[in-house]
Every structure is written in C-alpha cells, then in structure tokens.
C-alpha cells in the first residue's frame, strides 16, 4: 500500500528543470503551482517555485529497502529492554521483540501469541536500531496493532500458534514490511506474492540445531539454480507444480535470485553456523534462542556478528570462536516428534 502526502512548499530550482516538469510531470512527484520570486546569485539565476511535493510511503521499494540495509547483519531475539541494549552493543542490525524466545515457547507449550505492546514499546525506546515483532500466521489484527505501535518489520511467524489454518495475511495492505519463513521455493514465492518484502528460512526454531535451516536454504537456492537453466516454456508448469505465482517465477529466472532479501533462521547457535549460512548464499542471519540461552550472551552475540561479516575467512572465524562459554543446550531435530515441529506450520 502506498500513500501520498501532498504538501505545498517552496523550492528553488533552475528554470529549465521546472519547465521540464510542467510538461512531463505525470510521473514525477513535484507539481508546480506558481512562480514566487526570482533569486539572483553570483553564478546562476534561481527561480523560487511553489510546488506540491508527493512523498510516497509504504511502497514496495521502501519495504524491501530496509531488508537490503540489514544484509550482512544479525537480527537477534530479545525479551527485555536490557537484552535489546546488549544486542545493539554487540552490533546487531535489528532486534526481534518477544515475550519468550522460541526455546521457552517450546518448553512451556500453550498458545503463543503476539507480545504485549508494553514490552515492545519499552524495547523500541531502548535502542536506535530497527525493532521487529512477530504476529501469528493469518492474524491480520495482531499485524494491524503492531503497525499502529510503529514497529519497523513484522514477522508473520510459525513460531507463534497459527490463527488461520489456510491463509496468510494479505501483506500488501500494510505500510510496514513483512518477513516470512519458508521451507522451499514455492512457499517463499507464495509469501512474496502475498506481499512479503523479505524471506527467511524456517529452520527449526528453539532447537539450536542448524540442520533444518541448511535443508531449507539448500532447497530454495537449489530450485533457483534449476529455474536458471529452465527454458521459458517450462516455467508455467513448474510454477503450477510448486504452487507459486508464474509472474514471480519468471522474475526469479530473470534475476537469478529471489526478488527480495533472503535470511537464514531457525537453529543458528554458533559463529560457525552463521558463517555457514552466509557461505551457502544467504544474505544475513536471525539468531533466536542461540544468544540469550547461552552462557555468555554479550560475547556470543558479538562473535556471531563478526562471523557474519568475516564469513569467508576461516582464520578470523577460528579466532572469534575461541572461549565463548557454553552454547545453548539444544535439541536434536531428529529427536523431535512431528507434532512438535514448528516449520510445518504455514501453507
């Protein structure tokens, strides 16, 4: 959704520039109202114009743009303002404000919902970096509330209990951008079709086991490589097969990658995990329980940030992996019964 703000303001421009606008201003955002005065400076003459300026907010370029700014960075789950400050100090590019990290949601069970707005506002006050929050799959009113709070990014997340067993939120209707999880390319492109401006692997949140994130990353990137070598006439049947919009499949072929930023998430617990996801070809990393369920969160957080930057330099990775204290204990995903797997949520 984009909105326009019309404001009458004064701008000083060379005459030719505005004159060009007068004739071709249909696509431009400056609309001339009238000439106010002429200002002579030493080198040029400037004409002071009254114009209407249009600022477009909530456009797809603006939504996708914030994810582009997060690239090469680490987004950390935090449950208190104090955690948020530790994350910012460690170099996080954004924080995800939650009441419980996924490991605790898993341990405690029950229905997991959007966090208390009070907690989210405290975290927004505590840091200068972007603040993200999660809503339940399909729960568009939780999304409306989080947008009204002014959070910077919304995660329509399988970590919370789904509110709709068939549909996701129509994300085009919102001014703030959404990130969504995926296990494969079809799921990623359905979410983009619904308006997601950023994609992440689902992995298996709250386990500290990276295996599912690797599986999902390889699935998405492998399918993109397959599309790359596919003749155009095969794309429609391929799109039908994976349940993805044909237009976006075509776009993926043209670009050779997803049309939005693609992060790793779900089970990342060490600097080596983060660097591995980067080497596989993802754009950045979410770390959920892996930091604040470990023995020394500030130190581990800083190490994972540095590993995400220097992901291709094993000597630096060796140095930053030293003496980080206890990692989160973790649960092997292969030991998890099907019913306890979060990644299967989402349609």
């Amino acid at each position: 959704m984009s909105t326009f703000q019309h404001r009458t303001v004064l701008v000083s421009c060379p005459f030719r520039y505005v004159a060009a606008h007068r004739e071709t201003h249909l696509k431009t955002l400056l609309v001339v109202v009238r000439l106010v005065s002429v200002v002579e400076s030493r080198r040029t003459t400037h004409f002071l114009w009254e114009v209407d300026v249009e600022k477009k907010v909530g456009t797809f370029a603006v939504k996708k743009g914030l994810a582009q700014m997060l690239k090469g960075g680490v987004i950390m789950d935090v449950v208190t303002a104090e955690h948020a400050r530790i994350a910012e100090e460690a170099g996080a590019v954004a924080v995800m404000a939650l009441e419980r990290v996924p490991a605790d949601i898993r341990a405690q069970g029950g229905v997991a919902r959007m966090s208390d707005p009070e907690l989210i506002l405290q975290i927004m006050d505590a840091v200068s970096i972007p603040v993200m929050a999660k809503c339940r799959i399909g729960h568009f009113v939780e999304a409306q509330i989080l947008q009204a709070l002014g959070v910077d990014y919304l995660d329509e997340s399988e970590v919370l209990t789904p509110a709709d067993e068939a549909h996701h939120i129509n994300k085009h209707e919102f001014k703030i951008p959404f990130v969504c999880g995926c296990r494969n390319l079809g799921e990623a492109l359905r979410r983009i079709g619904e308006g997601a401006a950023m994609i992440r692997t689902k992995g298996e949140a709250g386990t500290g086991d990276v295996v599912e994130a690797v599986r999902h990353a390889r699935a998405v990137l492998g399918e993109i490589r397959r599309i790359d070598s596919m003749p155009d006439e095969e794309l429609m049947t391929y799109a039908k097969g994976i349940g993805a919009p044909h237009e976006i499949v075509k776009e993926v072929k043209e670009l050779g990658r997803l049309p939005v930023v693609n992060f790793a998430a779900g089970g990342i617990a060490t600097p080596a995990d983060a660097a591995m996801m980067m080497q596989l070809g993802l754009d950045g990393v979410f770390v959920g329980s892996g930091i604040f369920k470990s023995g020394d969160p500030p130190r581990r957080a800083k190490a994972i940030v540095e590993a995400t930057t220097h992901y291709n330099d094993p000597e630096i990775l060796a140095e930053i992996s030293r003496g980080l204290g206890e990692p989160m204990v973790g649960i092997g995903v292969s030991e998890l019964p099907e019913a306890e797997r979060l990644a299967v949520r989402g349609w």
Partner: protein
C-alpha cells in the same frame, strides 16, 4: 561507460563490506565498467582510487570498523582519496551524529539519525540535483529510516535538499566537501547510475 576504459586505465573502487547493501553498490559500479573490491580489513584499502560506505546500520558498521582496526586507515584514506557515504555511510563520515557511536569524523557535517521517524515513515520522492548529468531529469530518491544533514561547516557544498512544509526552510540530503560525499538516500537502490557517475568524476579529479 567508455570513459572508464579509455586509455586502458580502469578505475578501481572499494566498497566497505562490513555490513549493509554493499552488493547493490558493487552491482551499480560494475554496470558502468568499474572494477570493485569488497573491503573488510585495512589491507584491502591499498590500491583503491575511491571508497563507498554503503547503507546499513551505522552502529553495526562503526563497531565492526573499530574491532577490525579500520577507523584510522579509513581516516587516512579519506584525506586524499574520494569517499562517498550513503545513509549509514553518511552518518559514519560525519563529525557529529548527536549520540555516542564510532564515527570517522572526516566531514564537517552534523547529522540527525532516523530524522523522519521509524520505518513506517520511510518514503520515496524525487529531487532536483543540479550537479548530475541531465539535471532536468528528476532524481528518484529512496529514504529508509534516513538521517538528515542538519548543518554543514565552511567549505561544504550542499548538493540536494528535500523541501518541507515550513516556509523557507528545507532539509539537506546530499553534501560534498572536496572529494568527500554524503547522501541520506540510496542511489544504489534505484537503478539510476547518475550519482555513481558523479562520484567517479570526483575519483578521477
């Protein structure tokens, strides 16, 4: 772009790749025939004729630059070679960001972070930028949780302003101090390479 390859002197520009949208800058530079280098460590600054500091989170970039001993080498680099900061990069070049975070302190500008508000207030608009090629053509500018340049010191040229609704006042969104350039918006996101060409003009003197 023929100019870069004329006489066989291909220009080599670095992009600080600690965090942020460095890949978008690299893609734009390559599309106009520039050789690029990702810079994460001080030794990667050698042999470069210019450097771009991309958009991203200025706190993250500042902390990584400090941890990996890049602050002093970047200051020395910016004494005699062109450096351009977009958004977070502009904050990093400034000498005052109105809060405590690592800065290069090389441009005499004061910036205010997140000056337009949160992401919900991020926007795109069109600017008149007379120093670019074809100045009659408006420049599409994307502002993401963008800073503004609140004030500039002597010898800093204002390149672009964003009109706002309070009578005569308008906000500075691009400035140049000799071979140093700062923009609060993201020319690397729009596919319009005129700003990158302008920067290369500084790099070639």
């Amino acid at each position: 772009m023929e100019r870069e390859t004329e006489g066989g002197c291909m220009i080599k520009v670095g992009v600080l790749a600690l965090q942020g949208d460095f890949a978008e800058h690299i893609a734009t530079l390559r599309s106009i025939g520039v050789e690029t280098v990702e810079v994460r460590l001080p030794e990667q600054l050698v042999d470069l004729e210019g450097l771009i500091i991309p958009g991203g989170e200025s706190t993250t970039i500042g902390k990584l630059a400090t941890s990996y001993h890049l602050i002093e080498p970047l200051r020395r680099f910016s004494q005699d070679r062109p450096v351009w900061g977009t958004c977070a990069g502009a904050i990093f070049l400034s000498n005052d960001a109105r809060r405590g975070q690592p800065l290069l302190n090389v441009m005499d500008i004061t910036v205010e972070r997140n000056a337009f508000g949160r992401q919900v207030d991020s926007f795109e608009t069109e600017l008149s930028i007379p120093v670019l090629e074809n100045p009659d053509r408006p420049y599409r500018a994307i502002f993401i949780r963008a800073p503004i340049i609140e004030s500039v010191g002597e010898g800093v040229e204002i390149i672009a302003r964003l009109p706002i609704d309070s009578e005569d006042e308008d906000r500075i969104v691009a400035a140049r101090q000799g071979h140093l350039l700062a923009t609060s918006f993201h020319p690397e996101l729009t596919g319009d390479d005129r700003f990158h060409r302008y920067f290369l003009g500084l790099a070639k003197g």
